[in-house]
Symmetry: D2
Subunit: 350 residues, 4 copies
C-alpha cells in the first residue's frame, strides 16, 4: 500500500485507539468461551438500550457477509426468497452467500440505492395475484441497507412506508447496517435505532467499517423470534471461541456514544469534498449525505484519481466519463482531506 | 376444465396414442429397478445414436425442473454461478430450485428470449477483469433453452458463437430442451441434436411437453464427465423405482422418428394461427417459428381470448393492450384450430 | 431378468391391473396441470377420509426418497436435525438426500428396526441437559417407518409412547409409510391411519411398493401446518406437470379399499414362507408380520437362494451363515410361492 | 469465571504476550483488505516453508468449525460424503455445519479417538462392492484429527496406512489440526508438518487453541488443487475485511518457532498430572501424550473436580464412576498445576 492519502474504503485502517486500548488493557485474562462472558452480555445490554428494545436479542458476529447470511438463513423458509434492490450488497459482492445456503434473491430496480415502497408493493401484489404463483418463490424477507451502497439514506417516512408494505403482506424486513454509524451521524438522517427496532424484524449495527477491528451486531427487537440462533451461528462456523473480543469492542463503542461520534467527522469531510468536486465543475452521480461520495470525471482524470488516491472505479457515465467511489473513513486525517481538496482544485473543469 | 378448445399449454393432454399403447402392451411384466432395465438401456442407445454421441451418457428423469436442477448441481461448483437470460425458465418459474441447491443465478438481458454471445462475452470479461472478482461468484455454467421461453430458436451460427465464448472462458454450456421436439421440427431450425452434442456440455430432450406422460432425457455427450450421476439422481429423490416407465416412452419416441414428427403439425398450426392474427391486424410480440405464439390484443379482446381458449396472460404492452401466449400442442386438433381461426376472423381489427 | 420366481423386492412388477385399466380408460383426455385436477382432489378427499383427518392436507409425489426429503425440508429448521434409527431408510439408502438439503441426521440404535421410546427420551434428555447443547443440532423431527426396514411393526402402544415423548420435548414425529399397505393388512397390526393422524405430525402412504406405478401420498393431519408446500414441491423438481397420473392411481387405491386388500395375500404368503423356513430348521433374524422375511442360512445355501430367487444378501450372521431378505409382493403368484416352498423343502436342515 | 485454577479448555485465555505485543505494535496502520496484505503473504510463506510445501497454498480463517466446513465444501462433490470416526469433532460439536452445506457424514467406530486404516478399508470395500452402491453416497473425503478429540496421536506409520488406503480408493484425506501445536510438541509424536504435506490433501494448523486470539491456517500442499478458494471463503462469510489480523498472528507464531515451543510446557504439565492421577490410584480412560487427559473418578470426586477446576464431564464409566476431561493450556501456570496436584494428593484412592 503505497498510496499516501487513501480514499479506498473504510476498513483498511486498524481500529480506533480506544478500541485498541481497551483490548490491550485486558491482558491475558480468562473469559468464558463462545460469547458467554460478561463483556459480551454488558455490550448487548448497552446496544438494546440504545435501540430502545428491552425485550430484544443481540448476537455479535465477525463480519457483514456472515451476519447477512445468518439472518436470512434464520428467517427465510425453503420456499421463500429474499427481495432486495439490484445494487444490494447481498446481490453483488457477497459471492452468492445467500444462495449458497439455499435461498433465492429477487432483485428490484433501485432508486439512488433505495428500494421504493411502491415498487415493492407492485412486486408483492404481482406475485400474490400471479396464476403461476406456486411456481415462484414466496417473498419471505425484504433486505435493505441503511445507508445504502450509494451512501444515501432512507428517511423515516420512506422506512415507515416500506415497513407498512412488508407488514401488510406478511413479509419480514431486515436492514443491513454495515455503515450504520455513518448514517446515524449524518445531518440528513432522521431514522434512529429506536425507529429501526419499531419498524423492522432485524437489523445490524456494523463495526468493521466504523472503527472496530471487526464485528457486527445483529439486533432482533422481538426476542421471542430469536430462537436457537446460537446453534445456527455455530453451524455457520461463526461462533467465535473468544467471543469476548467482540464484546469488548462493542462495549467501547456503546459505553459513551463513541459509535455515533466516531463517524461524524468523516461525514463532514465527505460533505466538504462533495462541495469541492461540485465547485470544480464535476457532476455527482447522486447526492450522498454520508461518507461515500460518487463524483463523475472525464475518464483520464478519473484514472488519475484512482491511481493517486486509490478510489474505486464505480461505473462508466456515457462514453467519456467515469464515476468513482470516494470513501472517507473514521480514520481519514486532515492531511488526507487537504491532499484531495488540493488535487480537485488543481484539476478544476472551470 | 370446461374450455372446449384449449390453447393453454402443451402438457395438459395425456400422451400420444403410441406411447399409451406401448405402455399397455407391457402388462404386468417385471423389470430390474431404478432404470437398470433393458428398455431404458435400449432407449439410451437410440438417443445417443440420434445425437451422434456414441461416447455419451443419457439419464432419464421425470421432469424439467428436476433435470435442470440436477445438471446444475452436478456441474457447478460451490463458488460458481449459472448465467442465464432474465426470461430463462430456471430464473422465473422453477420456484428457486437452482438456488435451493446452493447455486446462484446471474441473469443477462434477453434478445427475443435468446442470450446474445456478445452480451455474454461482455459479462464474462467484466467479471474476469473486475477488481472485486473474488467477491463475486465465478461464472460456471451458461444455461439457455432451445426453443426459448418465447418460442424462438437459436440459429446454428448463434449457438456456435455462444459455444465459442463459453469455451474461451472455460465456462460450461447447457441447453434446456423441454420443447426440443418443436424446435427440431421447425422449418426455421438449422440446429441438429448432433450439433448440440458437438457444441454443448449437456442438453435435454424434453418428453413431457412433446407427447409423453412425463420424462426428460439428459444427454452428456462426453461420458467421461458423467461421473456419479446416478447417485446424485437418487439424492435428488429422482431415481424412479420403475425407471422402465421412462425407458419405454423414450423408446417409442426414438425408435422411428416419432419425436420429431409428432410436433411438426403443431408448428404448422401455430404458423397458420400467426398468419391469421396478423391478417386480422394484430401485432405479434415476436415472430416465433415453433408452437408458442404471442399475439398482442386490446385488453378487452385479450381477456375474452383468455376466457374462451384458456391462453395465458403474458405481459401488458403499453396501457391498452395485452400480450397473450397461445400454445399449440401435439394434441391440438383440426377442430381446435378451426375454432380459434374463426374467433380471430370474427374479431378482426381491420 | 431371467429369474423365474423372483422374491427380490416389491417394486419390480408394473402395477395392479385395476390401476392400469383406470389409467388406460382416460384416453387422451385433458386435465389441469400440476395436480390441480379433479382426480387428484377426489383422491385427496378419499385419503383424508380414510385417515379420519377432515382438516388435513394431502400432497402426492412420485417417490419415497422425494417425499421423505420434502417433508424434512418443510418441517426442519436450519439449526435442527432429524433423529432416526441406524437402519432407517433415510440413513442408509437414500444417497444422503436429507443431508444434501442441509439437514443433519442423528441415528439411534434400533430394536428390531424400531425406535424405542425410552432410548429416544434418553437421547433428547441428554441433548437438553448437555453443557454443549448449543454446539449440537437441536432435535427437530423424529423419523420412523411403519412397517420398519425389517418388516416389523410398531404397536399402537409403542407408537403412543413415541408420540408422547416427541410432544413432551416439542419434537415433530414423521412416519415413512413406503410399505404402509403391508402394515395395514397385517394380522399383527393394531395401528390405523386414524391413529397415525392423531399421533403424528405427518406420514406417508406408499404406492410404489404397494401396487401402483409410482406415487406416495404425504398426509399432514393438521393442514394449518401445511403452508406453502406446493411451492416447495416445485423447488424440489417434484411437481409433476401431469399430476393427475398420481391422482388417478390413488383414486383407484382408495375408492373401495384396494389399498389394504391388495397386500393381504402377500402377507399371508410371507407367513407361510416363514413357517416353511422354520420347519426346515432355519433361524429367522426377526419375526416379521409383513411381506419381508429374513431367514438365516448356511452361506452356501444362501448363495444358492440368492442366485435362484433373486433375494438380497442382508448381513452375515456369525462366520458361516448369511441372512437374506425375501420379499413377497402384491404381484407374487401361487407358482412363485410354490417354487420357493419346494426349494426350502428340498434343502431342509433337519 | 470464578474458578481460580481452571482446566476447562485451551481457549479461555486471551493470547500469548508476543501475539498481543506484535498486534499492538501495528498501531493504526493501513493494510490492503481481505488478506491481500504483506503480513498475510509473509505468514503464508513461512507456513509453507515449515510444511516443506513450496508449491502449496495457505488460507487463513478465523475458526475451526469454519475451516472444516470450508474444506469439505471445497473438496466434496454433491454425491459424496465425508468419513470420520464417531468422536470426530465435525460429527459431534460443530452443530451440523458440514451437513448444513449439503454433505453427509458417515461415522466409523474409533480406536482411542483414531480411525483405523483396516476399519476404513473395510468400509470403503463394502461400499464399493455393495449391490446398492448407487443408493449410498460415495466416500469422497476422510476426516481425521491430529491430535484426536481424546488427545491421542496418529503415529507416522498409522498415518501412512490411512493415506495409502485413501489413495488406493481415490478418496481425499484431510487432517483437522485444531490442536496441532500440542501434537507437534509431544514427545510421543513422530509426524511432522512435512509428513502431513506428503500424506494428505489438506490439513489445518490451529491457532485458537494454541495461543492466538483466533485463526486457523488451511494448508493445501498441492496448490494446483486450491482453485477458487477465496471466493468460496467469501461465500462462507469468512473472508475477514481486516485479514492482516490473521496474518500478523501467524507471522508471530511461525517466525521463530513459537508455534511449537508455546505448547511444550502444557504437554509436560499434562504428563505430570497424568502421573499424579495414576499415582493416586485413578484409572485413565486412555493414555494421552498431549494436553488433554481423561482421568476416571468416583462420581462424587468427579463432581468435586468439575466444581473446583472447571473440568468437563466426559462420560460415565460403569455405574459409579465418571471420566472427566482435564485440559492444560499454553497459559496454564505453575500455580494452576500445583493446585491440581495438591487436590489429587489429598483425594488419593490409596
Amino acid at each position: 500500500m503505497t498510496i499516501a492519502h487513501p480514499f479506498t474504503n473504510d476498513y483498511s485502517r486498524s481500529a480506533h485507539p480506544r478500541i485498541l486500548e481497551d483490548l490491550a488493557s485486558l491482558g491475558a485474562r480468562a473469559f468464558d468461551g463462545y460469547g458467554c462472558d460478561g463483556l459480551t452480555s454488558r455490550a448487548s445490554e448497552l446496544i438494546l438500550e440504545a435501540c430502545a428494545a428491552p425485550g430484544g436479542a443481540v448476537h455479535l458476529v465477525h463480519g457483514g457477509t456472515q451476519v447477512n447470511a445468518l439472518y436470512v438463513d434464520f428467517a427465510v423458509r425453503p420456499w421463500q426468497s429474499v427481495v432486495c434492490v439490484e445494487s444490494g450488497h447481498i446481490a453483488t459482492h457477497e459471492a452468492g452467500a445467500v444462495e449458497h445456503l439455499g435461498h433465492r434473491l429477487v432483485t428490484l430496480p433501485a432508486d439512488e440505492g433505495r428500494m421504493d415502497a411502491a415498487v415493492l408493493e407492485d412486486y408483492l401484489r404481482g406475485w400474490r395475484d400471479s396464476q403461476l404463483r406456486e411456481h415462484m418463490t414466496e417473498p419471505g424477507l425484504v433486505y435493505i441497507s441503511q445507508p445504502t451502497e450509494l451512501g444515501t439514506l432512507y428517511s423515516l417516512e420512506q422506512l415507515e412506508a416500506l415497513s407498512s408494505v412488508c407488514r401488510s403482506f406478511g413479509v419480514g424486513l431486515y436492514v443491513d447496517g454495515a455503515r450504520m454509524g455513518y448514517g446515524l451521524a449524518s445531518k440528513a438522517n432522521d431514522v434512529s435505532l429506536a425507529d429501526l427496532s419499531r419498524l423492522t424484524d432485524a437489523f445490524t449495527i456494523g463495526g468493521t467499517k466504523c472503527g472496530m477491528l471487526f464485528g457486527e451486531a445483529l439486533v432482533i427487537p422481538d426476542a421471542a423470534h430469536a430462537g436457537s440462533m446460537r446453534t445456527l451461528i455455530k453451524a455457520h462456523g461463526a461462533l467465535l471461541a473468544k467471543g469476548w473480543l467482540l464484546g469488548v469492542q462493542f462495549l467501547t463503542m456503546f459505553r459513551d456514544g463513541l459509535y455515533t461520534s466516531i463517524t461524524r467527522t468523516a461525514n463532514e469531510r465527505a460533505a466538504r469534498l462533495s462541495r469541492a468536486f461540485a465547485d470544480a465543475g464535476f457532476d455527482m452521480l447522486i447526492a450522498s449525505p454520508t461518507n461515500q461520495i460518487f463524483p463523475v470525471l472525464p475518464v483520464g482524470l478519473a484514472r488519475e484519481l484512482i491511481e493517486e488516491f486509490g478510489v474505486y472505479e464505480w461505473e462508466p457515465v456515457g462514453d467519456s466519463r467515469l464515476c468513482v467511489r470516494v470513501v472517507v473513513s473514521w480514520a481519514t486525517t486532515d492531511e488526507d482531506e487537504a491532499a484531495l481538496i488540493a488535487w480537485i482544485a488543481s484539476h478544476t473543469l472551470r
